[in-house]
Subunit: 293 residues, 2 copies
């Protein structure tokens, strides 16, 4: 069995805990029934011994597989990881989503994409990463009564993501702690109106609205203070064609959306300016979770 | 010259100061150059003497006409008003928008709908009423650098608004004062995610999402405490086919969106239960401001 899940950029612009998009950068895992349990990891995390000893994928997989089948079978897991760890590109969501999907598939029990999302919510209470990971495309999501309600828009051709992955993380725990506990009505309306406008802009493909619609007042500046060169990066990206330039998730990765014709120029400009960061031009992903039995 | 502007329901669901929709209930005015200034008012406000003496339309019209032409010509104004006053159906926005449009038309100077919106913002700092009044349809709007940025979705056939207009207003001033000054992150995400989802639902015509997407935690319940029967009204509407049941603007009118097939039943049910309130089934308006020279 082969399972593959895309990277995601969540917290998109003003869309705190709400908006996310899937990127063509995938983690995959091949799973075979076996006499002995074994793990091999290639790519991101391959040199991290802890990931083998205390593997989140395996523990979620086993928990669900045992619950579904009542059995404790053994498997050989081979991971091919392309999503950087702890950089705000949804690597944890990819693990959670693929582990649950793998358990249902291995048990021979069907589960809808919506059902899978609701199972994943137990491990990741913010729906903006797991929803695009499962669905692909741009997604708007909310939680109501313990369930995710989401709507997807397929991303059209002609747009690219230029993502800039710093050489170090911003600590999520540290950043969350520094965020305000309460927001003024003015700041709420600032983000609420822009998150709604960003949604309208993407659904109606009114790209000229993205610059105004992608501004945030809830969390980005506070988090970016932990890595001040991100302010220069954002300024440079907006001066050179970025339609959206925003922290990916809680960072440290920066997500820039551009017309295809501007991607090459922006990628090289940012790579030259930030030689220690990885700069990748990616397509948007519209497939989400892929399962091959 | 003849100018006509539709009623609007703003603050739609969770879309505080952001989402609004135009309804097929219009205020019109006929304006003729004349030797003497005169006003006549038919319909809503006809019996209100103060509206003749201190007329907001006339003062905004004169202000703009004089600025644009340098002249102080006299006009005869005949108003045909169908939008109830002080009930959260956008009667002030209709006055502001039509007065500015009339002044430009009388002066023979063109103004775009966007330009008109930015002029209107001086008198009405919340864009969610004036935008649908000018544009028609469902609108998402934000303000950036003193300008309105908005995106419109034409409302399709097959949907109706069942609006319930109480026999008295909720004081806007009173209600605004009682609203919180700050909101918890949890409440912000509640509204922000639902306002975004409501936008996605309307743009993609996923009507089954509206029930969850139209819930609000920012202002409705607090305002409805000023007229507790509105809670019963909302409950009854949601039990009998309403896809959205929400305060219109800051009230006291209640806006219910239904499939056409459910409108007749809901209208009669609500009219019987609330005999002192006016219950109207309306189409959505997609034309917005109409000018005939």
């Amino acid at each position: 069995m082969y399972i593959s899940v895309p990277a995601t950029s969540a917290n998109l612009g003003p869309g705190f805990d709400t908006l996310g998009v899937a990127l063509s950068l995938r983690n995959s895992v091949r799973i075979k029934r076996s006499k002995f349990f074994s793990i091999s990891i290639r790519g991101e995390g391959a040199d991290n011994v802890r990931l083998k000893g205390n593997n989140l994928f395996v523990s979620i997989f086993n928990e669900h597989y045992r619950r579904l089948t009542g059995r404790q079978d053994k498997f050989r897991f081979t991971f091919y990881n392309h999503i950087p760890l702890s950089r705000g590109l949804g690597s944890s969501s990819a693990v959670i989503v693929s582990a649950i999907a793998a358990a249902y598939t291995a048990a021979g029990i069907g589960i809808s994409r919506e059902g899978l999302l609701n199972r994943a919510l137990v491990y990741e209470p913010h729906p903006d990463n797991i929803t695009p990971a499962v669905m692909g495309g741009f997604n708007v999501a909310t939680i109501d009564g313990g369930r995710i309600y989401s709507i997807k828009k397929e991303m059209p051709k002609g747009l690219k993501a230029v993502v800039v992955i710093p050489d170090r993380p911003i600590s999520t725990a540290h950043s969350r702690k520094r965020l305000p506990k309460r927001y003024t009505t003015q700041d709420v309306v600032y983000n609420l109106s822009r998150s709604s406008l960003l949604t309208a802009a993407i659904f109606s493909e009114r790209w000229e609205m993205l610059r105004v619609a992608s501004k945030d007042r809830m969390h980005q500046d506070i988090r970016m203070e932990g890595m001040p060169e991100l302010f220069q990066l954002q300024k440079m990206a907006l001066q050179h064609g970025a339609l959206i330039s925003t922290l990916s998730g809680s960072g440290s990765t920066f997500f820039n959306m551009v017309y295809e014709r501007d991607a090459f120029h922006l990628e090289h400009l940012l790579q030259n300016r930030f030689p220690n960061f990885r700069v990748l031009t990616l397509d948007f992903d519209n497939r989400g979770l892929i399962i091959e039995e």
